[in-house]
Symmetry: C2
Subunit: 218 residues, 2 copies
Amino acid sequence: MTRVLIADDHPLFRNALKLALDACVDSADVLEAEDLDQTRRLLADLDDIDLLLLDLHMPGSNGLTGLAGIRCEFPAVAVVVISANEDPAVIRRALDHGAAGFIPKSSGLEVLTEAVTAVLDCRTWVPPHLHQTVAALEAGDRDLAARIARLTPQQFRVLQMVADGRLNKQIADRLGIQERTVKAHMSEIFAKLEVRNRTQAGIAFRRLELVDPSSISR
Amino acid sequence: MTRVLIADDHPLFRNALKLALDACVDSADVLEAEDLDQTRRLLADLDDIDLLLLDLHMPGSNGLTGLAGIRCEFPAVAVVVISANEDPAVIRRALDHGAAGFIPKSSGLEVLTEAVTAVLDCRTWVPPHLHQTVAALEAGDRDLAARIARLTPQQFRVLQMVADGRLNKQIADRLGIQERTVKAHMSEIFAKLEVRNRTQAGIAFRRLELVDPSSISR
DNA sequence: GTGCACGTTGGACTTTGGTACAAGGGGACC
DNA sequence: GGTCCCCTTGTACCAAAGTCCAACGTGCAC
């Protein structure tokens, strides 16, 4: 049986996706989440999810940050990115970060069905009218993606807090571990990201964001 | 006599702006620059420039970073921002950072003339069809702008390098000063930006950027 | 079973970062 | 001339960051 998790804060769109899934898979087990935390919890609790349909602009998913985090923590799960934004550069970056496909929110039911079918068949899928454009773009994030993908889940969490300007001690407290351990993770993170200090690590991490830096402001 | 500096990497557009200036000012002294470094040099060498027409996407001007830098170093110069991007949120942010006006690159000659006339008359100017929209936006960057505007020119330079992940020692070398001095600047910067460490300062500074963080990548 | 990746911690250490307090020179402004 | 801001440097000190070494338990895969 195919088990799919739909992660989108828009109930109506979740329904549309469910219809598409019913149309192309018999006896699909469909789960839903409306923010990134819930998504992560479900992925962790149920270890047999085959496919994740992930909205890039869902609460908690900060541009590509959410995607990259999921890819670090659950590398075995295929992820299809969903977004209202159809910018080819964004699609390119999502694919670079390991997305198995990209579905615009404006898609009709047939397109959704086609896309889901393709991905469940282990083929990547992007909108046909953008296929050429996206393919022509040189890999925007491939090196960044490759570096970040090397991080372990815990290292990713540490990096996220570093990119928030937190101290090692604060990170240790929040994760319930010793500051030494945080430092050990930091050394690993620097090596994997090929940077020399936490400021550069934070900068690299924040490249995952998509929108104007100000709108995240506070 | 009115002295104006046009900072835009597009020669054709510089010409259009010159025409507009000729049409509304008699005996205008028009200078040109095609990147931010040259702009800064001209502003520093000639201290009697009344108006700067600044392209947001000129080489070196990294989103609002260039504008903020100019405002720190030459607070007396009126700056009108020019951009192909007409996003009201960007216009709002530019005004928050002290721009005296905003001119879309798509403007015709009459509009350019009108805008320049208004600004030389010490009135702020934005495209009439966007005026309401921009005014309705709550101040996006006003607090950030207020904090950054307090920085002295040297502090701004230091912060810029911090946001690049450089060490205090490296910053000191590049500025030809002692590391102690850099530290003194850092303490000032933290106080003015209301942050507690360099990572947070770097984050705050990078909010000035406008585009997807990845495209600055390397 | 044997490896391997992951997360964890330990000790000992060096390097950076950051604060507090004080002060002098130079330029701008009144 | 006096005042204020900017930039600079100094001393002294403490906190945070980061490195190099090594180790142990767990769970997973071959």
